[in-house]
Amino acid sequence: MKKRYFILAAYLVLIMLPIYWMLNMSLRTNADIMARLVFIPTEITFDNYITIFTDSAWYSGYINSIIYVVLNTIICLVTALPAAYAFSRYSFIGDKHVFFWLLTNRMAPAAVFLLPFFQLYSTFNLIDTHIAVALAHCLFNLPLTVWILEGFISGVPREIDETAFIDGYKFPRFFFFVFIPLIRSGIGVAAFFCFMFSWVELLFARTLTTTAAKPIAATMTRTVSSSGLDWGLLAAAGFLTIVPGALVIWFVRNYLAKGFALGRV
C-alpha cells in the first residue's frame, strides 16, 4: 500500500517538473533567465503577466480560443446526444458502418486538408469567425463525443425507456427530463474531451483565422518570432493556457472518479 503511493507521488512530481519550470521562468525577467539557473526564483516579477493582461493582442487570443472551444463543445453535445441514443438503441441500415466511418474522420492527416478547408470555408464566407473553427473542430470532436456518449447510454438499461413510454411519456419529454439526467456524467466526460481536443488544436484554428478570431496558441508563435524570443513572456503565456483546462477538469473530476466502462462490455 505504501509502495503504491510512493510510485504515484514520484510520477506526479515528474510530470509537474516541466510545468513548474515554465511557471518558474514566467516569474523572472528575460535577463535573469539567461544569466543563471535557479530552482526557486528569488527576484519574482509579474511583469510578464501584466504585459499579457494589458495588451489586447495577447488577451484577445485567450478570449477567442475560449469562444470557439465553448461553441464547439455545445455543437458537439447537442448533435451527438440524439445520434448516440440512436446508435445505442436502434438498429438501422448501415448503422455499424456509419459508426466506424465517424471515427475515421479523426484519422486524416490534417496538414494537407488545410488548403481545401480554407477554400471551403472561404466559399461560405466563414474565414476568421469563431464558428468556422468550432465547425472545423467538430470533424474530430463529434465522432469522439458520439462514441463516448454511446458507451454511457448503452450502460442504461433499455427497460427504463420502455417503462417511461408505457407510463405515457412522449419521446421529447422522456429524453430531456428522464434520460439526459441519467447520463449526466457521460455528458460531463464528453464535454471534457471536446474542450480538451478543441483547446489544444492549432493547425485548423490558425489556418481558418487571421485576426478577429485568432487563438492564443497562434498569437504565441507569432510574437515569438517577431520579438526575438522573450522566454519569460512566452512562459507566462504558456502557463496561462493551462488555467482554463485546469478549471474544466476540476468540474468534471467527480464524473471521472465515478467511473465508466464505455461500450458493451
Binding site: 465517424l102 483547446w199 504565441m220 482554463p244 465508466f260
Partner: protein, 291 residues
C-alpha cells in the same frame, strides 16, 4: 442487448452526419482531385492519373519516414499503455480530496495546446536555461537534442510519454472505478491474488475504455505534427522527420499539391487499416471470458 429495428434512427444521426460530412467529404474530394492532377497555378492543371501515387510509393524518403513513424507509434503504445494502466492502479480508490487533486494534476499535460507543449520542452531541455538539459550536462554527459538524433528521439519520447500517458491513465482509472465492489469481495473470498484480480476482473472490465485509449493513442501518435515540429523541426538531419512533417514540407514548403494529395491519401489509408485491425481485434478479444 437486443435493439429496436427502426430506420428512424437515421433521423437522430442526421445532424451529426451533415456536420461531419460537410467538413470531411468535400475536403477529401478536393484532396483526391489534387492527387490526380498536376497543378501549376489557378486554372492551370493537367490530368496525370496515378503518376503521383507511383512516385509517392517509390519515394525512399517517404519509406524512411514511414519506418520512423511506425517505430515511434510502436514505442508510444508499448510504453504508454502499460504505464498508464499501472499508474491508474496506484491511484486512490476512495473519493475525496486526494483522488481529486491526483486527477487534476495528472490531466494537466493534456490541456496544454500542442505547440506550447513543444515550447515547454524546449525550455525544459535546453542545455543553457533548461532544468533537465542543464542537470544532465552538469553530470558530465553532453545532451543536446539539436545536435544528436538519438538525443532528439529520447527528448521526443519523454515529451510524448509525459504528454499523453495521462489520457490512458484517466480512461483506465474511469474503467477501474466502474467495477462494482462485489467483484472484489467475491475475489477476496476465493483468495485470488492481485495478479489474478487484475487479469480476470480489472483487465476485462477495462476493455471498452482501453480500446478507445489505444485507438486514440495510435491515431494521434501516428499523425503527430505540432510537438516535434516545434521541438526539433524534424531534425537534426532527418532524424525526427515523421510522416506529417515530411508531408507538410511537400505540401506547404514546396507547394507540390499533387504529390502531397497522393501522399495524404496513402497516409490516411494506412491509419485506417491499422485502426480497423485494432478495432476488430479488440472487439473480439476476451469476449468469451467476460460475458
Amino acid at each position: 442487448m437486443k435493439k429496436w429495428q427502426d430506420n428512424k434512427g437515421w433521423l437522430f444521426i442526421l445532424p451529426v452526419f451533415i456536420i461531419v460530412a460537410f467538413s470531411a467529404i468535400i475536403p477529401l474530394m478536393t484532396v483526391v482531385n489534387y492527387s490526380i492532377q498536376d497543378i501549376f497555378g489557378p486554372g492551370q492543371r493537367i490530368f496525370v492519373g496515378t503518376e503521383w501515387f507511383k512516385e509517392t510509393l517509390t519515394d525512399p524518403r517517404l519509406h524512411e519516414a514511414l519506418w520512423r513513424q511506425l517505430l515511434f507509434s510502436g514505442l508510444v503504445l508499448l510504453i504508454e499503455m502499460p504505464l498508464g494502466i499501472a499508474i491508474a492502479l496506484t491511484m486512490p480508490t476512495k473519493k475525496g480530496l486526494g483522488s481529486s487533486v491526483c486527477l487534476v494534476l495528472i490531466a494537466l499535460p493534456l490541456l496544454i495546446p500542442w505547440n506550447v507543449i513543444g515550447t515547454i520542452w524546449i525550455i525544459f531541455t535546453r542545455p543553457d536555461i533548461g532544468l533537465m538539459g542543464a542537470f544532465i550536462n552538469n553530470m558530465g554527459i553532453t545532451f543536446d537534442h539539436t545536435a544528436s538524433g538519438l538525443h532528439a528521439w529520447i527528448t521526443l519520447m519523454l515529451m510524448e510519454v509525459w504528454h499523453w500517458t495521462p489520457l490512458v491513465i484517466l480512461l483506465a482509472y474511469a474503467g477501474l472505478r466502474s467495477i462494482p465492489e462485489a467483484y472484489y469481495q467475491a475475489a477476496r473470498i476465493d483468495g485470488a491474488s492481485a495478479w489474478a484480480i487484475f487479469k480476470y476482473i480489472q483487465l476485462p472490465k477495462m476493455r471498452g475504455v482501453l480500446t478507445i485509449a489505444l485507438l486514440l493513442r495510435f491515431m494521434d501518435s501516428f499523425l503527430i505534427y505540432a510537438e516535434p515540429f516545434v521541438l526539433t523541426g524534424g531534425g537534426p538531419g532527418n532524424a525526427t522527420t515523421f510522416l506529417s512533417i515530411y508531408l507538410v514540407k511537400i505540401a506547404v514548403g514546396q507547394f507540390d499539391l499533387g504529390p502531397a494529395g497522393a501522399f495524404s491519401l496513402i497516409y490516411f489509408l494506412i491509419v485506417l487499416l491499422f485502426c480497423y485491425l485494432f478495432y476488430q481485434v479488440l472487439l473480439n478479444v476476451g469476449k468469451g471470458e467476460s460475458s
